[in-house]
Amino acid sequence: MRQFVQQLVNGTVLGATYGLIALGYTMVYGIIQLINFAHGEIFMVGAFGGLTVYRYWLPESLAGNVWVALPAVLIVAIAVSVGTAVLMERLAYRPLRNAPRLAPLITAIGVSIFLQEAVRLFYPGGKRQQPFPQLISSGTFDVAGVTVAWVSVFVVVVAVALMVALQVFVKKTKTGKAMRATSQDPESAKLMGIDINRVIVVTFVLGAALAAVAGVMQGMRFAQIDFRIGFLSGLKAFTAAVLGGIGNITGAVLGGFLLGIVEALATQYVPQGSSWKDVWAFIVLIAVLVVRPGGLLGERVATRA
């Protein structure tokens, strides 16, 4: 029983990261029906942005101070991810706005390779794993025999807070309503006076900011990053988004946590489970899509007329 709860905790932490990344996939898909395969790399460059500020910019006297170092790392990570995403939208996707859907999809894969290679070639030491600072004490505490790291608490609390904030933003603010309107009928949104190019940029910005936070979290948890981390995390987060119903924000969060927990439990309970740890996400995806092709909270399968 204790093992089970321990894995639930681990899975929740894992799922929080997946969920944060999945939101970027699902929001962009909801607005422009693009599977942005470069989103995993937005997550990766965020982690590298955070690393850079810690390694090169923070004076040593401040690097140990969590109240300075952590916000600095997060802010720069977000700035790097958001900047990259805005450029990507402007230079790579916007010119293809009215092209057949395959063109932006292939472009996204190209952007993804471009960003990986750029970090590999031009980041100092980018070809190898880079140690990532812990920032928060590496300490743990026990609750009823279950061990929880402080980093895990931080990850889950921040992730949930951001998810709630995003929901409120989309439901309550004027820009959020414009986002929902654009996703439901972009042409009609224009007739309301909505500048849908602006809405699309805002969508990329939000997704990138969440991915940057996830990137820093991932770095803190595994204590290292490299130029490839966006691939697998991106793929799993994409799976989470599809699992929850692509285009659906609540679905992405749900899919993220579900995948994280399944992965943690399967690693524990399936014989040889850990060597298959990257497979469970996709098994769950296939199982769910057989029963519900639109995903758990997906509204319909048919594409918009």
């Binding site: 309107a181 009928d185 224009k190 007739l191 309301m192 500048d195």
Partner: protein
């Protein structure tokens, strides 16, 4: 004084196909103008071009004397042109109230609430269902919401594309009596209709479109009396 809307020699092409081929007409402030004609005559394309959803391939559109034919759709809305498009195009998973709020998207003033009340007053059924998703409404209710949503921008020119489409005669009469109420309040309307009888009955002036050109223009009453119009559009032999 110049007309509120001036359309001069408007051409619109889809690839090789010329959908609108040199259409010119005016809409004066406070007037109701109807564009009638059969399917494919270019009525919808004309409206879509006026609201910026479609690019003109030639000609000019002026609002209060200023060219608007190169502006993006959201900028044209900001100038005071509202378009309730063909097929209503509501936001189906948003509530009636949210749809109305989006109609007022460009507005920064404090009278949005009063205009919501005005729309509810015009269409009481919408008030009853304000928290319901727009996609759950009947066709007639959706048309009411589409008109209400367009009114929320406080347009100087309201363009309606086929407000009677798919509606029962009874519901259609409700919609047209609301339009005539809007007319008496001084709203400027540009109305595209296949139902020529209803449209011309309301309109101060009308234009008949055939294959992308205006073939006949006149006052609503004149066109209703015109023998060609009666034969072609009112189903008389």
């Amino acid at each position: 004084m110049a007309a509120l809307l001036e359309v001069r020699d408007l051409h619109v092409a889809y690839g090789q196909i010329d959908a609108v081929r040199g259409v010119s007409f005016d809409v004066d402030a406070g007037q109701v103008v109807a564009l009638i004609g059969s399917n494919g005559a270019g009525k919808t394309t004309t409206l879509r071009t006026l609201s910026g959803l479609q690019r003109a391939s030639g000609g000019e559109v002026r609002l209060d004397g200023d060219r608007i034919d190169r502006l993006a759709a959201h900028e044209i809305v900001a100038r005071g042109v509202a378009h309730a498009p063909e097929g209503r195009r509501l936001f189906p998973r948003m509530t009636i109230r949210e749809n109305l709020d989006l109609g007022a998207y460009r507005r920064r003033d404090s009278e949005v609430e009063a205009d919501v009340a005005m729309v509810y007053d015009l269409f009481p059924i919408l008030a009853e269902r304000r928290a319901q998703a727009a996609g759950t409404l009947s066709g007639g209710e959706q048309q009411m919401l589409a008109i209400g949503r367009a009114l929320m921008s406080r347009p100087r020119l309201l363009m309606l594309d086929e407000p009677s489409m798919g509606l029962s005669p009874l519901v259609m009469r409700t919609i047209f009596s609301t339009l005539s109420e809007l007319k008496t309040r001084g709203t400027t309307l540009l109305l595209v209709e296949q139902n020529a009888q209803a449209a011309l009955g309301l309109a101060d002036s009308g234009h008949v479109l055939e294959t992308g050109r205006i073939v006949l223009s006149g006052t609503g009453a004149d066109l209703l009396r015109d023998e060609g119009v009666r034969k072609a559009y009112l189903g008389e032999d």
